[in-house]
């Protein structure tokens, strides 16, 4: 696994050590936010009344009956909310208009969830329905059928906001090379439109927080939201609270996938805690997770590709429309999603427009890959279609056009680390892409397909970490990035164990408490290993320096001759001394100040890491030598069967290769791959929001089906392959893996479906119903079977 660039042998990193949280989680002892409720007698419970209309004016809102119900402590409406709106959170409650079906209108804090629910049912609202727009392509037009909310664009102060296209939140342009000249040179030009559905993260643990109003006007929040310091900043800013009086604590989080990056429970809970002058808890129901939590951005991609007969892509034009839903917290201009089309192939003449658009649908945001899987869906289906048109193998076409290390992508960035082609070659070999499937009698048709992709890393914020080295050699690691299940606590423990050359059992991780652990942003963009990991290495080295400095006097040896290994100070050519002997016991006869180490006082090492910042791009061309930080890459191959009578798809085999840089914990990387693959099966063949007049009609696990074991191939038929191209500035060459593991799956499935039944489906999901409709269309020579 390790590359020649990193010859240092390691003893803990790079090894599949057991997760540090495994025992607690398996035994049910790990504490999640909802588990803490029992610590608060007299806790108030929050319930929210939500709009059934996608767009309506609130004519009358009467909460008086609810307020009178015994057991109700506080009732709030939009009028009680702070005027300030943050782009880190949706509006707390609607004020004059509701802008999606599911937006909160009023909320109650009561002595029990049942009383709160009863109170909600006593609130009377009169709505006047307003025109609504659900389709992003309609919404982005000048004079759209509805303006989602006049305030959205203006509030955001987006420089690109124009009254002429009031639902467009932003527009990113890429103008590389000369696309017209490129198309003129092309032997073949292929144009297509692709789309993806709105889906839900469906993380196991719903959003939940507890907020306690303290007597001094401050608050303490326990929450499963991401980024304790970001929440601290958000809450103190929204409510004008003294920053020093806001404390945020983060127990384990039951999944996020980007959902918890926007904070949809903490602001309302704070409002009600302050009003109730007590402690409140707010936990979303599963239905609320669909209606009023983050969703994945639906994306429409138009793609036109020009290629030479030999497969060389000479021009590409794309229009990418990202549907933000009714979001204040939108991804403004689609630039992040669009990046999925830039980071894999060498396309000198590239003309691309991406747009962020608001619609009156549940708001959307980050979801594992932040739009790149949706755009890669288009690109990778297009590549297979192009290959077929050219009479080339899909592997050969990709080999011809893939970016290689040291080359420039269309932004103008030089790519330092890219293992994508290696990933694809391994996948194609493993799945035996060249060997045709053997068909069996019956309605099931077999097919194979592959795809690949990449995901940028945003150079965002900075990360801090601290270590406390105790006299007995044990080490506490303090950091504030998230643990949403991906294993950051284990990775951090491994890094500290490696640096101090101690066993894992001597490291204890303390995480996520703004009063104790140092600053970090949150775990996003797959950067925790890279950002926080780098900070932690610096913290370890800082502590080490302090210890060895103290040892130079005791041991009368120069600093360079000393090393700390597994609790022992080693001097070149001498047996050394125990770390504990460096710590002096308390005595009234010795000076207590000074530089020496004191018994009972750990050595505190501190590290700060900030990624190299991006370089502002030219707004007219999008060109810059540094748009992002680094890229993770992946490839996927699947073998599946399609039922030509029912349209059902069953995945028989999945092979997935990832370039995550150096894998700090290979087993956890495999876990990311298997989890991402399964999640992507859901996004590819099952998941979609179904609406009636903008109101989601399938908002339960019963009718919104996420994948289970039933949809996964057998364990022995899922294979994870590592194909790392280590990144020099990553810890031991590590990059990240969390987001990349979905990207290539959907197009690989669609390419396999094409291989199986000769039908190209360009819209996700490939539900049984959609697949069958296309089969019937083909059977009846485009005569629409809907008119049967």
């Amino acid at each position: 696994m390790s590359s020649n660039k990193f010859p240092t042998p390691t003893s803990v990193v790079g090894k599949s050590v057991p997760r540090v949280d495994a025992l607690d989680k398996v035994l049910g002892r790990a504490q999640f936010t909802a588990d803490l409720q029992r610590n608060f007698p007299g806790l108030f419970h929050i319930k929210v009344l939500r709009s059934p209309h996608a767009h309506a004016r609130i004519v009358k809102l009467d909460t008086s009956q609810a307020g009178k119900l015994p057991g109700v402590r506080a009732v709030v409406t939009g009028k009680d909310c702070p005027e300030k709106v943050s782009f880190r959170a949706p509006r707390i409650l609607a004020l004059e208009e509701v802008i999606w079906a599911g937006e909160g209108v009023a909320a109650v804090a009561a002595e029990s969830p049942e009383i709160a629910q009863e109170a909600i049912e006593l609130i009377q609202v009169e709505y006047e329905k307003l025109p609504a727009v659900f389709d992003a392509e309609e919404a982005m037009q000048p004079n759209p059928p509805a303006i989602v909310d006049r305030l959205l664009g203006q509030y955001r102060g987006s420089p690109q906001f124009t009254p002429e296209a009031p639902n467009v939140t932003g527009h990113f342009k890429l103008r590389a090379g000369d696309v017209e000249k490129g198309f003129a040179e092309a032997d073949i030009i292929l144009e297509n439109r692709f789309s993806t559905s709105r889906i839900s993260h469906s993380q196991l643990e719903p959003a939940s927080c507890i907020v306690r109003a303290e007597s001094d006007g401050g608050i303490i929040t326990w929450t499963n939201g991401q980024g304790v310091y970001v929440i601290k900043g958000l809450i103190s800013d929204l409510f004008g609270l003294a920053v020093g009086k806001v404390r945020v604590i983060n127990p384990y989080q039951g999944g996020s996938f980007g959902s918890r990056l926007r904070h949809y429970v903490e602001p309302l809970a704070t409002l009600l805690a302050l009003k109730a002058r007590g402690t409140v808890q707010f936990t979303y129901s599963r239905q609320e997770m669909y209606l009023a939590a983050s969703t994945r951005l639906p994306v429409v991609t138009y793609i036109k590709t020009g290629a030479k007969k030999d497969g060389t892509i000479v021009a590409q034009q794309m229009k990418i429309i990202v549907d933000n839903g009714a979001s204040y917290a939108a991804i403004q201009d689609g630039r992040m999603a669009a990046s999925g089309a830039v980071c894999v192939y060498r396309i000198a003449n590239f003309f691309m427009d991406s747009y962020g658009v608001n619609t009156n649908t549940p708001w959307a945001g980050a979801y594992r890959g932040l739009g790149t899987p949706q755009v890669a869906w288009a690109v990778e289906c297009q590549m297979d279609m192009l290959a077929e048109n050219l009479g080339m193998s899909p592997i050969e076409l990709r080999r011809k056009n893939v970016l290689r290390r040291g080359e420039k992508n269309a932004y103008g960035e030089i790519i330092e680390s890219i293992g994508v082609m290696d990933c694809l070659e391994k996948v194609a070999q493993e799945i035996k892409l060249e060997e045709p499937c053997v068909q069996e009698p019956g309605p099931w048709r077999k097919g194979k397909g592959v795809a690949m992709g990449g995901k940028q890393n945003t150079p965002r914020g900075h990360s801090e970490a601290e270590v406390l080295v105790h006299e007995d050699g044990t080490v506490e690691v303090l950091y504030s990035a998230d643990e949403q299940g991906m294993g950051s606590e284990t990775v951090m423990a491994q890094i500290a164990a490696e640096e101090f050359r101690i066993p894992m059992g001597q490291v204890r991780v303390r995480r996520g408490d703004t009063a104790i652990t140092p600053y970090d942003t949150f775990s996003a963009s797959s950067f925790t290993t890279y950002n926080t990991g780098n900070a932690l290495r610096m913290a370890c080295q800082d502590a080490m320096r302090q210890i060895l400095q103290a040892a130079t006097q005791k041991m009368e040896a120069p600093l360079d001759d000393l090393a700390l290994v597994n609790g022992k100070i080693i001097v070149k050519g001498s047996p050394g001394m125990a770390l504990a002997d460096l710590f002096e016991p308390f005595s009234i006869f010795t000076p207590q100040g000074g530089a020496s180490l004191k018994k009972g006082t750990p050595v505190r090492g501190r590290g700060v890491f900030a990624p190299t910042p991006a370089i502002p791009w030219d707004p007219q061309t999008g060109l810059t030598p540094k748009m992002w930080n680094w890229y993770q890459y992946n490839a996927c191959g699947v073998e599946l069967v399609v039922n030509i009578e029912t349209g059902e798809i069953k995945i028989l085999q999945g092979v997935f290769a990832a370039d995550m840089g150096f894998p700090i914990n290979p087993k956890m990387c495999e876990g990311q791959i298997e989890g991402g693959f399964g999640m992507a099966i859901g996004a590819s063949i099952m998941e979609e929001y179904i609406y009636e007049n903008g109101l989601m009609t399938n908002c339960s696990y019963g009718d919104y089906r996420i994948p289970t074991f039933r949809e996964m191939p057998l364990r022995r038929n899922v294979k994870a392959i590592f194909s790392p191209d280590p990144l020099p500035e990553g810890p031991w060459g590590a990059k990240g893996i969390g987001e990349g593991t979905m990207i290539a799956v959907a197009p690989a499935i669609a390419n396999a479906v094409y291989n199986a039944i000769g039908i190209r489906i360009k819209d996700l999901p490939l539900s049984a119903e959609r697949v069958l409709r296309r089969i019937k269309e083909k059977e009846k020579n485009d005569q629409d079977f809907l008119h049967n």
Binding site: T646, M686, D703, R705, T708, R710, E769, R773, N788
Partner: protein, 294 residues
């Protein structure tokens, strides 16, 4: 939400309570539908009357004439695993075994599955295919009708104020017959059916189709027989193309709606696919029984 909870011990006592509360009462059998409706506030009854301790509703008996009586409060798990229901009545077991998960089947009841009157109830097509009658008891005595006539619309039945469904009566089936229920749902049995098809075929001495029942669930306001398809098959020599034709007729006779689980078009297409498969399988069973007994 608050309601009073009652637990009568006899059918008579239960009817008295029901008559008293009328529309304001809900009956609790297994609770797997009722509790969801209460939680979602679809209903707000004043009284919930449990059938749980009325022993008269829990019988399961084979009569001397070969017919069978199943009490409304038999759980689906009891039905599915009952030896009395093996062989000729196996169709009932197939239907019961298709309802959701074993946890749900352990509490859900056969009577409840009918009284909930969901168009996609999995036990109903099988019971109708076997010619089940229901016994209804109310303040004015008891009455009987065929199960197909029990349903009047989604969630609606012929039950009048004070009446309860007490048992199912299944006539003795011919030995030269076979029956199959197939459920099609995106996620198999734990999911709600997009379509359910029960078929029953009886062969005459010459291996011609003597009696045919094709019952569809999930594709009309109530589970129902498709008589044109049935009639077309009666008296015929069973063969592949004929089943295909019958499946086509069944699809045409179905009256599905579009909802969050499937569009009407897809449902109709699935009626065709699964009626054909079900007929094929049923014919194989009937033929085997014919040979076995014949």
């Amino acid at each position: 939400m608050r309601f009073d909870f009652y637990e009568p011990t006899t059918i008579g006592e239960c009817i008295e309570m029901l008559t008293h509360f009328g529309q304001e009462a809900s009956l609790l059998a297994g609770g797997t539908d009722l509790l969801v409706k209460l939680r979602l506030r679809h209903i707000r009854p004043q009284a919930v009357i449990s059938l749980g301790v009325i022993d008269e509703l829990k019988k399961l008996e084979r009569k001397s004439d070969g017919s069978l009586e199943i009490g409304a409060m038999k759980t689906l798990q009891e039905v599915e695993s009952s030896n009395l229901l093996a062989n000729e009545f196996d169709l009932v077991r197939q239907g019961a075994g298709c309802v959701s998960s074993i946890q749900v089947r352990n509490v859900a009841t056969l009577g409840g599955n009918s009284c909930n009157a969901s168009p996609s109830a999995d036990t109903v097509p099988a019971l109708i295919a076997l010619g089940a009658e229901v016994q209804i008891v109310g303040p004015h005595g008891e009455r009987h009708l065929v199960l197909e006539d029990f349903f009047t619309g989604p969630g609606e039945t012929v039950l009048q104020k004070g009446e309860i469904l007490t048992e199912f009566k299944l006539p003795a089936p011919s030995s030269h017959s076979g029956g199959t229920y197939k459920k099609y749902a995106i996620r198999g049995e734990v999911d709600i059916s997009i379509v359910g098809v029960a078929t029953r075929l009886t062969l005459d001495r010459n291996h011609k189709l003597q009696e045919v029942r094709i019952v569809l669930g999930g594709v009309a306001p109530t589970p129902n027989r498709v008589r044109r398809a049935e009639d077309m098959l009666v008296g015929q020599d069973p063969r592949e193309e004929l089943f295909e034709e019958a499946a086509q007729l069944a699809a045409e006779e179905s009256r599905p709606i579009s909802d969050q689980r499937a569009t009407a078009q897809y449902r109709r297409e699935m009626v065709k696919v699964w009626t054909r498969y079900t007929l094929q399988e049923t014919f194989q069973k009937a033929r085997q029984n014919h040979h076995g007994k014949g």
